[in-house]
C-alpha cells in the first residue's frame, strides 16, 4: 500500500473514532441534565397520563443504555432524529441554518486574510519602526479583546450611533447585516494572522536564498512577493483551514449578539430548551467540521511539504 493511502486510512479511522467520542460525551451530558423535557413541553399543569405518554413517545421511559443504543443506531443510519420543540427532523433544521453560518464564517475568514496578511507583511518590512510597533501592539490589543465586547462596541458605534448597518440580522438586507458580525468574528483572527505573517516574514527575509535574490539585484517588491510571502503563507493556509472548521460549527457568541440565524444560535437555544436531539445534532455537526478541517489540513500539509513524515 502506498504510504499516502495507509496514512489517509488511518487518519480517517481516527476521525470516526473522534466523532464517536464527541457524540457519546454529548449524549451523556445531554441526558445528565437534571431537568425533565416533558415538563418543558407540556406546560405548567400536565396530567400524569400526558407525562407518561410523552415519555414513551420520546423514548424517555427506557434505560439510558437502551436510549444510547437506539441513538447510535440512528446516527449510523444517518438519522439525527426529530427536534422536541420544532417537531421537524434535526437534519432539516441544521441544513436550513448551515448556509447562514457558512456565509458568516467565510466572510470572517476572508476579512482575516484580507486585512491580517497585508498588515503582517507591512509590519515585517518596517521592522521596529513606528508602523511595526503600532501593528504589533494593535494586534495584541485585538487578541486581548473579548469577542462579545468588541461586537457590542461595533454594534453601538456603527449600528446604533452612526446607523450605517442594521442592528442585528435583517432579512432582505443580508449583505449589510453581514458586515458587523463578520468584523466582530474577524478581530481576533486579524490580530493572529498579522502576527504570524510578520514572524514568518522576518525569519524568511533573513534566509540565505532571499539574501541571494536581493544580491542578484531583484527588486525588493519582487523578492517580497515572489519568494518571501509565498513561503510565509504556508502556516496561514493551515490556520485558514482550522479556523474555517471551527467557525462553521457556529459562532455562538457572535450569532447570539447579532441575531444571526445560524447553527450557533440554534445550538444555544437547544440547550436552553433541553431539546436533546437538537443539542446532539448541533454538537455532532460542529465537531464534524473541526475533524474534517483537521484532516484536510493534515493531508494538505503532507502533500505540500514532503518533509512531513507519513507515519
Amino acid at each position: 500500500m502506498p504510504p499516502i493511502v495507509s496514512f489517509l486510512g488511518r487518519r480517517l479511522a481516527w476521525s470516526v473514532i473522534t466523532l464517536w467520542f464527541v457524540v457519546t460525551l454529548a449524549f451523556l451530558m445531554a441526558y445528565a441534565l437534571p431537568a425533565d423535557p416533558t415538563k418543558v413541553l407540556l406546560g405548567p399543569h400536565p396530567s400524569p397520563q400526558q407525562i407518561a405518554k410523552l415519555k414513551k413517545q420520546l423514548c424517555l421511559d427506557r434505560s439510558l443504555l437502551a436510549q444510547y443504543g437506539c441513538f447510535v443506531g440512528r446516527i449510523a443510519r444517518g438519522d439525527l432524529g426529530k427536534s422536541f420543540n420544532a417537531k421537524e427532523p434535526v437534519a432539516k433544521i441544521i441544513a436550513k441554518r448551515i448556509g447562514m453560518t457558512a456565509k458568516l464564517a467565510v466572510s470572517a475568514v476572508f476579512l482575516m486574510v484580507l486585512i491580517g496578511v497585508p498588515l503582517g507583511v507591512w509590519a515585517a518590512l518596517r521592522r521596529n519602526q513606528m508602523a511595526d510597533t503600532a501593528i504589533t501592539t494593535g494586534g495584541l490589543l485585538g487578541m486581548s479583546t473579548p469577542t462579545f465586547f468588541g461586537g457590542l462596541l461595533l454594534l453601538y458605534v456603527f449600528g446604533f450611533q452612526l446607523g450605517w448597518f442594521p442592528i442585528g440580522y435583517q432579512k432582505g438586507h443580508e449583505l449589510a447585516s453581514l458586515v458587523l458580525p463578520a468584523f466582530t468574528m474577524a478581530i481576533t483572527g486579524i490580530a493572529v494572522y498579522s502576527r504570524i505573517v510578520r514572524g514568518e516574514m522576518i525569519e524568511i527575509m533573513q534566509e540565505d536564498y532571499i539574501r541571494t535574490a536581493q544580491a542578484k539585484g531583484l527588486s525588493r517588491r519582487a523578492v517580497v512577493v515572489k519568494h518571501a510571502l509565498r513561503n510565509a503563507l504556508t502556516p496561514v493556509v493551515t490556520m485558514i483551514g482550522l479556523d474555517l472548521g471551527a467557525l462553521l460549527g457556529g459562532a455562538i457568541i457572535t450569532e447570539y449578539l447579532f441575531q444571526w440565524p445560524g447553527l450557533g444560535r440554534e445550538a444555544v437555544k437547544s440547550i436552553i430548551t433541553l431539546d436533546r436531539p437538537l443539542i446532539l445534532g448541533t454538537v455532532l455537526v460542529a465537531s464534524a467540521f473541526i475533524v474534517v478541517a483537521n484532516l484536510v489540513v493534515d493531508v494538505l500539509y503532507a502533500a505540500l511539504d514532503p518533509r512531513v513524515r507519513l507515519e
Partner: protein
C-alpha cells in the same frame, strides 16, 4: 552536565531590555497588587445596594461618579469602583486556578507523550485531538446549565479541564527534541530510570516554555471567564467579576456606557499585560523564535 537554568543571566538581560515585556510585567504587577490589596482600598462593600439619591434615583437610575462613588453606581445601586477592585481578585483567581489545572494536565500529558513516544504518544495525542474536536463553548454551556448552580469552582474546573490541549502539544514537541539531547543520553547511560530522567532532567528544561504558556493561558482564561459570565453562566451573584460586571452593565450601555467600558477596559488591559509578559518571556528564553 547541562541543566538549562530557567532564567539565566542572559535571558534576564534580554527580558529587562524588552520594553513591551516590561510594560506587561508592570501591568501584571499592578493587577496582582490590586487583587491582593483591592479589598482594603475599596470604599464600600461591593455587594451593598445603596438606595439613597446619590446612588440610585427614585426611578432606579444608576448615578454617575461622585465623591461617595468615584466611578458611580450600577443598576443595583452598588459602588462600581468597589466591584471593580473585588472583581480583580475573582477574575485573576479564575485565571490562575484554571491555568494551574490546565498546566497540571497539559504538562504531564506532554511529558509522557513526548518521552515515551510510540503508543503512549499516539493515544495521548489522539485524546488531545478528541478534546479539541469538542465545540468548547457548547460543552461549557451544557455543563453550566446542567449544574444546579454555578460557583467559582465550577467555572475554573470547566475552563481548566478543557483548556490544556495547546499546553500538551507544545510541551510534547519540546520533550521530543530534549530526549535526544546529549545530557539525557548521558543520564540514561549512567543508568538513571525513566522517572528520574523526566523529573530531574527534562522537567526543568520545559519550565521555561511552561511559564510562557501559563502567562498566555491566564490571559485566555480571563477572557473565557468573561464570556461565561456574559452568557450569565459565570460566578453566582452577587459576586463581582469583571465578566459579570459586563453582563450586568450590557443592557444599560447606551445610557451609561461606563458600566461596560470600565470592566471591559480592565479585562483588555489585564489580558494585554499577560500577553505582553508571555511574549517577553518567550523572547527571553528563545530569542530566535519570532512567531506569534
Amino acid at each position: 552536565m547541562y541543566t538549562g537554568a530557567v532564567l539565566d543571566r542572559r535571558a534576564l538581560r534580554r527580558f529587562t531590555r524588552n520594553r513591551p515585556a516590561l510594560v506587561g510585567a508592570g501591568i501584571v504587577a499592578i493587577v496582582l497588587l490590586l487583587a491582593i490589596f483591592g479589598p482594603m482600598l475599596a470604599p464600600h462593600d461591593p455587594n451593598e445596594m445603596h438606595f439613597e439619591a446619590d446612588a440610585l434615583s427614585a426611578l432606579g437610575k444608576p448615578q454617575g461618579p461622585s465623591a461617595e462613588f468615584p466611578l458611580g453606581t450600577d443598576a443595583a445601586g452598588r459602588c462600581v469602583l468597589s466591584r471593580l477592585l473585588y472583581g480583580a481578585r475573582v477574575s485573576l483567581e479564575v485565571g490562575i486556578f484554571a491555568t494551574a489545572l490546565a498546566v497540571g494536565i497539559g504538562l504531564w500529558i506532554g511529558l509522557l507523550a513526548g518521552y515515551y513516544r510510540k503508543a503512549t504518544d499516539a493515544v495521548l495525542m489522539r485524546f488531545t485531538d478528541m478534546v479539541l474536536a469538542f465545540p468548547f463553548l457548547l460543552l461549557v454551556i451544557t455543563v453550566a446549565s446542567m449544574r444546579e448552580s454555578s460557583s467559582m469552582v465550577d467555572v475554573f474546573l470547566v475552563l481548566g479541564l478543557t483548556g490544556w490541549t495547546t499546553m500538551g502539544r507544545v510541551i510534547r514537541g519540546k520533550v521530543l527534541s530534549l530526549r535526544e539531547m546529549e545530557f539525557v543520553q548521558a543520564a540514561r547511560a549512567v543508568g538513571a530510570g525513566n522517572g528520574r530522567i523526566i523529573l530531574r532532567h527534562i522537567l526543568p528544561n520545559v519550565l521555561g516554555p511552561t511559564t510562557v504558556l501559563a502567562s498566555v493561558g491566564i490571559a485566555g482564561f480571563i477572557l473565557s471567564e468573561a464570556v461565561l459570565s456574559y452568557l450569565g453562566l459565570g460566578v453566582p451573584p452577587p459576586q463581582a467579576s469583571w465578566g459579570a460586571m459586563l453582563y450586568e452593565g450590557q443592557s444599560l450601555y447606551t445610557l451609561a456606557p461606563r458600566l461596560i467600558l470600565i470592566p471591559g477596559a480592565a479585562i483588555v488591559i489585564t489580558v494585554l499585560g499577560f500577553n505582553l509578559l508571555g511574549e517577553g518571556l518567550r523572547d527571553a528564553f528563545d530569542p530566535k523564535d519570532k512567531r506569534g
